[in-house]
């Protein structure tokens, strides 16, 4: 049983998804989804402790030994990613039950949960697999179900944004497929470890460089790196709130994981940052993303869209850390990956609670809302503080390490950019706070009640996580630093 944990991590949600379609009763379906998600979380934690104890786990899927068969390979980085995905999924699922019941048609709900579990499976699969082609398959499993989830919202703009995402997402995934194909052409293998062993012999090949570029562009589309982020704001704004919280915290993060896996494990840091000018390109794009995302967010009236643009900026921080091409920079980027997932999950869940009562999250309708929904708005403020990077929150910890890493790498202008972009974050968060706390509610609007406890409890769990990992800043940093060392091959 224990030996088969890597397979169970994927198989459990994969089998539960069609069961959801068969069960047909929303209540039962949700219970099944929840049970499976909690079990997945347990498996992820167990896998991580095994990795810490015994080192990298290699699992031969179906008994076919790698490199011929598909290998599931768990090291410190993807074990942490598995914990992140399953933990976020568990908390958001608690939240989603009530939120989805309101935002999605009753008769579509069992199918909605089936798609949710498929998306969950896909994300876990991308992370756990050690086979390059398998990454593509799971990427499409998660993407296709995400398009369906977004289109489940009642707002008709959700369908057009799902369509837009489908076109962009498929182009991105196909680019990754081309890259993988070219790698196979060169080496005759698809296993990541095997690829890593064979690629150093062909670094001068133009095919390798082409493959690299295709994979970089494909991943950048998926992770919404500026200027390839255009699918994201609409998709996040019009999707059901629970879906937004889930994919904002996991899907883009998993795309970053794929990129890191290709950069460091397969191509190797020497090729990615030495032979190819990845560091420079990534750094410029990240800094532009940090500012353009935040600037657009300031002028946004729909708070979910505002947070989506803020995600563009925050993803900029993550890729900025990676672009420094040092181990501490990589670790700082990875730390922000985890922290940003917690921050955005909390903020989007707060907006989900607002949408639950107001039916909208436009700024003009949120005037004076803090009197009517004090706990929800307090959670938003707490999440906002973490986004800005106030001490005692996770946002502060990751920015602190990011600034340190930039100084260590000899960049003095980068910390200034980080500070500047954080100040812009103060502006857009303040806009929401000012509207909710200091304005009077519109006269023609009926007063609303505080969100139900079923929404508030998961929301505050996520906020508490933000403060816990903010105060215990060293805890996650040490794990991430070790993972970064392992990824970049230092140990």
């Amino acid at each position: 049983m224990i030996a088969h944990l890597p397979a169970l991590q994927i198989v459990l949600p994969l089998i539960a998804a069609p069961l959801c379609v068969l069960l047909r009763t929303t209540r039962l379906v949700w219970l099944l989804a929840f049970a499976v998600t909690v079990a997945s979380f347990g498996i992820a934690v167990e896998l991580y402790s095994q990795v810490l104890q015994y080192g990298v786990i290699s699992y031969a899927m179906g008994g076919w030994a790698p490199p011929i068969g598909i290998e599931y390979r768990v090291d410190q980085f993807n074990a942490l990613m598995l914990i992140l995905i399953t933990a976020v999924a568990t908390v958001v699922l608690l939240f989603a039950r009530t939120s989805v019941a309101k935002e999605v048609d009753q008769r579509r709900q069992p199918l909605f949960w089936a798609a949710w579990l498929l998306c969950f499976t896909g994300l876990l699969g991308i992370v756990i697999t050690g086979d390059a082609f398998n990454v593509f398959v799971f990427l499409e499993v998660s993407s296709l179900s995400t398009y369906a989830l977004i289109a489940c919202a009642r707002d008709r703009r959700a369908i057009t944004s799902a369509y837009q995402y489908l076109i962009m997402g498929t182009i991105g995934a196909t680019f990754i497929l081309i890259g993988i194909g070219l790698l196979y052409m060169l080496t005759g293998t698809l296993n990541m470890a095997d690829l890593a062993a064979r690629l150093p012999g062909v670094t001068e090949s133009r095919t390798l460089k082409t493959a690299f570029v295709f994979i970089v562009v494909g991943c950048s589309l998926k992770l919404a790196l500026f200027p390839l982020h255009l699918w994201m704001p609409n998709a996040y704004a019009y999707a059901p709130s629970a879906v937004t919280a889930f994919i904002a915290a996991t899907a883009t993060k998993v795309a970053i994981y794929v990129m890191l896996r290709f950069f460091f494990t397969i191509f190797g840091a020497d090729f990615s940052f030495g032979a190819m000018p990845l560091g420079q390109v990534l750094m410029v794009l990240s800094v532009i993303a940090m500012f353009s995302g935040s600037l657009v967010a300031i002028y946004e009236q729909n708070v979910k869209r505002m947070l989506a643009y803020s995600s563009v900026a925050q993803i900029g921080y993550i890729t900025l850390g990676i672009s420094l091409a040092t181990t501490t920079g990589l670790a700082a980027g990875m730390l922000h990956l985890f922290n940003h997932a917690m921050i955005k999950a909390a903020l989007f869940m707060a907006m989900g609670a607002v949408v639950y009562r107001l039916g909208s999250c436009r700024l003009d309708q949120m005037a004076g809302l803090a009197k009517q929904m004090p706990w929800t708005m307090a959670a938003f403020v707490a999440g906002g503080l973490s986004l800005i990077g106030v001490p005692l929150t996770t946002g502060f910890v990751s920015k602190w390490y990011l600034v340190n890493a930039a100084f260590d790498a000899g960049w003095t202008i980068i910390p200034v950019a980080i500070l500047g972009s954080s100040l812009l974050a103060v502006i857009y968060i303040w806009k929401v706070v000012e509207t909710a706390y200091m304005r009077l509610p519109p006269a023609d609007q009926k007063p609303v009640q505080e969100a139900p406890l079923a929404l508030l409890i998961p929301l505050w769990i996520m906020v508490a996580a933000n403060f816990f990992f903010g105060i215990q800043g060293n805890l996650l940093w040490q794990s991430v630093l070790q993972a970064a060392r392992q990824l970049s091959g230092e140990i």
Partner: protein, 118 residues
């Protein structure tokens, strides 16, 4: 680089650009899906070309040890990718149907026009 014997790769590039151009230039949502299909098909051809070995026969085991076989793995991979492509097309078309129900049109500019008043 031999330009003539690599004609299959030129076809791949041509198809890829055609598909890509259709996705970008066409405002009709169904035509965009068709463009996406052409784009994906070009990648299928790329993979299938890879598996071909000069003089290779279909990879069915024969008694003769000197037989050269084509590489079947890219073909199998592309079977998976074709399934993914079919699923993407189906989902895309389903979304177009729902867009048509909600907006009464599948022209991109008309949809933007309608949404502007919200």
């Amino acid at each position: 680089m031999n330009w003539v014997t690599h004609y299959n790769y030129w076809i791949v590039i041509l198809l890829m650009m055609l598909g890509f151009y259709t996705i970008i230039a066409r405002g009709n949502l169904v035509k965009k899906i068709i463009g996406l299909n052409i784009f994906q098909t070009s990648v299928f051809v790329l993979f299938i070309s890879m598996g071909k070995i000069p003089g290779g026969v279909a990879p069915i085991l024969r008694d003769d040890p000197t037989t050269i076989y084509s590489n079947p793995l890219p073909h199998v991979l592309i079977l998976t990718a074709i399934v993914v492509g079919v699923a993407t097309t189906a989902l895309g078309l389903a979304l177009v149907v729902r867009i048509n129900e909600a907006y009464g049109t599948i022209e991109e500019d008309e949809i933007h026009e309608q949404d502007r008043f919200f």
